[in-house]
């Protein structure tokens, strides 16, 4: 994992609720709807703006699901890219303060 670290924070312009293992998210900007499965929900819940993606993947995905760090990291990058495209998730190269993360 030689790439630069990434930090994720949830956008304020969303509505979200977790039902069982899944999370329903709707953008208030364009009403796009996402339903995250249990892996996506694990990443989403850890997106606090301060925990690096690699650590989220290791702690929340690889420890819970049978997958290697490399596979999980590649999948996670694709997943967060899709959410970021719709303004659901913000990706930064540096950690953000708790205030900024909201």
């Amino acid at each position: 994992m030689a790439t630069a670290e990434m930090y994720l924070s949830q956008s304020a312009d969303i509505a979200a609720r977790t039902l069982g293992d899944d999370t329903l998210i709707m953008s208030t900007l364009d009403s796009t709807i996402f339903v995250l499965n249990s892996v996506g929900t694990a990443i989403w819940n850890a997106a606090d703006g301060r925990t690096p993606l690699s650590q989220i993947v290791h702690d929340r995905v690889c420890s819970e699901f049978e997958v290697t760090d490399e596979e999980a990291y590649a999948d996670a990058r694709e997943f967060i890219g899709q959410l970021a495209e719709h303004g659901i998730l913000r990706i930064t190269q540096e950690p953000v303060s708790p205030t900024e993360a909201q």
């Binding site: 969303i14 509505a15 039902l19 329903l24 009403s31 339903v35």
Partner: protein, 365 residues
């Protein structure tokens, strides 16, 4: 099946109140001739009580939260309530007459991320709209508000409630909605007063008028398809429920009383006496409602309209039997297809000229 349908199905299986309609006041600055509420504000929940209920709703999984009234903006804490709901990540819709929404309020609503503002417009003519609301200047103020909301990219939906006074203006209101760039829905629903008084339903359009509405392409799209009867009723329909009320939908009054829906005044409990969770999961009234499948409906399960009828169990309840037919929905199916419902046939088709009153046509844009 789209994602929302999937989540609704999941919520039904898990018993989650995915949608809640919350009236934060019944007070109003308009006095619409067809309104089903009294406007007494005595005993309304306080700001903190309402916030506590909203927090409870987040805990049990509510995602869609409609804040309504009365006129919700009459409460000075309305924005505080909306802000709190958004901080808990609800998808928030606001139902309002909008006369108190100016440029500043529109900006605040945009910043809060309100999903949609739903507004009733009764006519494109001030003399008709204002006569229905009994508030001079209300059409102009409402229309101005819609422009402010649109300028802030807030989604707006206009509902045109059809009555005898205004039903001829429906097409013009639709055109007005198109010019304003907002959604449009017609609603031939005159809800009886929640105290049981049905006198205002006489304001509703007649069966003949509803027949004409249902054959107007601008309202229903493909008329032949919309009015075509569906003969087959599968077990999926019979094993299902009439609607989401009490399954994934709840209504909470300004006084903390909980019901399955705003049009289903079956008392299920009070959040001033119990938690919402206790009411939702343990109320005998909710349990009874959830036990009723379409196949348990003594008349409707045998009706040829069952596959597509929008039977409202709340209307049936108000007519005296939650498991029985709703006359208004029978009339709607009759107006749509020309085929009498099972209930109408049993009654010898004696009710074709009753005012429609509570009839809803869903999906009309």
């Amino acid at each position: 099946m789209n994602l929302l349908d999937e989540m609704n199905e999941k919520a039904t299986r898990q018993g989650v109140p995915l949608s809640t309609h919350m009236d934060i006041t019944w007070r109003c600055n308009e006095r619409c001739v067809h309104c089903y509420l009294d406007h007494d504000g005595k005993g309304e929940m306080t700001t903190e009580e309402i916030k506590d209920v909203i927090r409870q709703l987040a805990d049990v999984g509510t995602f869609f939260l409609t804040i309504s009234g009365g006129e919700p903006l009459l409460r000075r804490d309305c924005f505080e309530i909306l802000e709190y709901a958004r901080s808990l990540r609800f998808n928030v819709k606001l139902k309002t007459n909008a006369v108190m929404i100016g440029p500043k309020e529109a900006v605040r609503l945009r910043k809060l991320g309100i999903e949609q503002v739903q507004i009733s417009v009764y006519s494109h003519r001030p003399e008709v709209h204002d006569a229905i609301t009994k508030l001079p200047g209300s059409l102009r103020r409402t229309t101005d508000a819609i422009k402010h909301l649109k300028a802030n990219n807030i989604k707006v939906s206009i509902t045109n409630v059809l009555m005898q006074f205004n039903q001829r203006d429906a097409l013009a209101v639709k055109h007005m909605a198109q010019e304003l760039g907002v959604n449009f829905t017609i609603d031939p629903t005159i809800t009886p007063m929640l105290n049981g008084d049905r006198s205002i339903t006489k304001l509703g359009i007649t069966l003949d008028e509803l027949h004409d509405v249902m054959r107007t392409e601008e309202f229903v799209g493909d008329v032949a398809e919309f009015c075509a009867p569906v003969a087959t009723v599968g077990s999926d329909v019979l094993d299902g429920y009439s609607c989401s009320a009490g399954h994934t939908l709840a209504y909470i009054s300004p006084f903390g009383d909980v019901y399955p829906c705003v049009q289903f005044p079956m008392p299920c409990g009070s959040v001033r006496k119990q938690s919402f969770r206790e009411i939702w999961y343990d109320s005998p009234a909710f349990s009874e409602l959830r036990s009723v499948h379409v196949r348990d409906l003594h008349t409707c399960s045998q009706c040829s309209h069952t596959a597509y009828c929008s039977r409202c169990p709340g209307l049936a309840y108000m007519e005296g039997d939650m498991r029985g037919p709703s006359a208004a929905d029978c009339q709607k199916s009759y107006a749509r297809t020309g085929i009498p419902s099972a209930a109408m046939s049993r009654a010898g088709k004696t009710i074709p000229h009753v005012h429609i009153g509570l009839v809803q046509i869903s999906g009309l844009q």
